[in-house]
Amino acid sequence: MSFVSIRDLRVSFSGVQVLHGIDLEISKGEALGLVGESGCGKSVTWLAALGLLPGKATVSGSVMLEGTELIGTPRRRIEAVRGARIAMIFQDPSSSLNPVQRVGRQICESLALHRGLRGGVARAEAIRLLDLVGIPSAATRMNLYPHEFSGGQCQRIMIAMALAGEPDLLIADEPTTALDATIQAQILDLLGRLRRQTGMAMVFISHDLGAVSAVCDRAAVMYAGRIVEQGEIGPLFRTPRHPYTRGLFDALPDLDADRRRLVPIEGTVPDPKALPGGCAFAPRCTRASALCHSDRPGLKPQAGGGRLACFHPVPLPQRAEVYA
């Protein structure tokens, strides 16, 4: 049985629907990437699952955590899940820490909440966690405030705080987007190492395909509030079938190959208030037919594993090409 199972999750803000029925399964210990442009609903999916969206959001559908429904449960029940079963770290680490509290106290707060640790024991454990995420001289720097750390260090502290509850699943919401490239690599490394050490599952939300391939086993590509393609990292990255997924790769520079002109995806993400009638990607798609503009393809299982929502997928390369 999957650890978390999301069924037909829909979210709208003040009547504007931004999530149009998401289905996702996360097994224990696996790492899933959630890919897509800004505003496609990657973060909203998990904020909705944990009840972290503002009050004006309407959420429907189902999020089951080992058989327990999270959507519509009383606040107390969902609070018991947050941090303890599912922890979350965010995009902007510097402003995600309370600026007027010492970082040690913020970590100890989680330790007290989830593991009942207090006083010296909590302190020692907080130091161990800070050590684990690579904050040097943790014992003294526990007493510093968030503004006294760099962005990368703040993200490490956020990760330490997330680990404090020994969660089964860590949602990393664009954890490296606000950081320098070298720091990004360090944080990705750290997340990968922690996952191996603790065996926790991870959902890695990013628009950075490289980061996703480095960390995840499986990925789901989202466009305009829907999943359009999902599958194992290998096949998905070697032979993307959805024109949008393919477009994401074409827009990336390839360091190994000859220099080539990057192919951007023409047009812009549609306004959620005025989504096209058929496939939301059709207006930007080079392969779209009349059918794509009138009907919407469902997310269907594919022969080689994975799922795809497209009437005219990018053809698989011929056998000869693969071995060429």
Binding site: R76, S95, S96, N98, P99, V100, S110, L113, M158
Partner: protein, 309 residues
């Protein structure tokens, strides 16, 4: 840290000096105390004697230097009206004023902040709209209108409370209510927006994602951050404890500092007005110093001299 304190202190002293100078010059350029105190029918030789007695014939700069010398010796001058020490006249009135302003301040804090925070936590609810409406009413109605309205209703129509005087605690009720309504409105409005601002910050989402109960998110993470802007406003209210009751004391014939200001200015009782302004400026400056100090306690980013973001 010591440098921080010293610059603040120097700035405070400069502020007080500027207020003193300004008051001195303006008072002397805006009317002749001899003429006003002795009346329009006073004989010329009486006026001349009076002017000579108080040194009003000297050039302005000499009067000013003499005044500064006095202040440095701890002498705040004597009242031209009854010859008693100006500082005594002022300090005598302070308790009466504080008897109004301190309870009013407690009401402002005790009602304004909780109402604002509650409204922010229940945004767009009926209670929120009620708080907004009430606070707009509170800070738009001038205290002289509100004071008279309260007198009309509670003193004249229903005869529940006295309309003026200082004989019992019942006499203090209307002035205190009049004084606190505006402040409650402003504080409620301000606390609400400060709290809404903080509740939208990413660290609040972090605190929720941690699994903290909502009550702890509010008390341990939101309120300490919202306190920083609120303290500024409260500091201003503390600074107005001495001088904040001029209108209300006049309406309710309350013999406090405010009444003394009105009477002394009307009489051009120079030493008393100057002394009053000095005391008022000092209170405001001290309140500001306390606010700066509180900032440091509340926000570590300000302690290290970096701007808050």
């Amino acid at each position: 840290m010591i440098r921080y304190i010293l610059t603040r202190l120097a700035r405070a002293i400069l502020t007080i000096l500027l207020v003193m100078t300004f008051a001195f010059v303006v008072l002397r350029l805006s009317g002749d105390p001899a003429q006003i105190l002795l009346g329009p029918d006073a004989p010329q030789d009486a006026i001349d004697t009076f002017r000579a007695r108080w040194g009003l014939d000297d050039p302005l700069w000499r009067q000013y230097l003499a005044y500064l010398g006095q202040i440095l010796r701890g002498d705040f001058g004597t009242s031209m009206r009854d010859g008693s020490a100006a500082i005594t006249l002022v300090l005598e009135r302070v308790p009466a004023t504080l008897a109004l302003t301190v309870p009013a301040l407690i009401l402002k804090l005790g009602i304004g902040i909780p109402a604002g925070v509650y409204a922010a936590l229940h945004r767009e609810s009926l209670a929120d709209r009620g708080v907004i409406m009430a606070s707009i009413f509170g800070f738009t109605i001038p205290s002289f209108v509100l004071g008279l309205l309260l007198v009309l209703v509670f003193a004249i129509t229903f005869d529940l409370l006295p309309a003026g005087g200082q004989d019992s605690w019942r006499h203090a009720v209307l002035p205190i209510v009049t004084m606190s309504i505006g402040g409650i409105g402003i504080l409620a409005r301000f606390s609400r927006s400060a709290m809404i601002e903080v509740l939208g910050q990413p660290y609040i989402r972090t605190a929720m994602a941690k699994g903290l109960p909502w009550r702890d998110v509010v008390w341990k993470h939101a309120l300490p951050n919202a306190a920083v802007p609120i303290v500024t406003l409260v500091g201003f209210m503390v600074g107005s404890l001495i001088a904040g009751a001029i209108v209300v004391e006049s309406i309710f014939s309350w013999p406090g500092v405010g009444r003394l200001i009105v009477v002394s200015v009307a009489n051009r009782d120079l030493a008393v007005v100057q002394c009053l302004l000095l005391v008022i400026a000092a209170t405001m400056v001290i309140a500001n110093l306390l606010v700066d100090f509180a900032y440091g306690l509340l926000d570590p980013r300000l302690r290290s001299g970096r701007p808050a973001h």
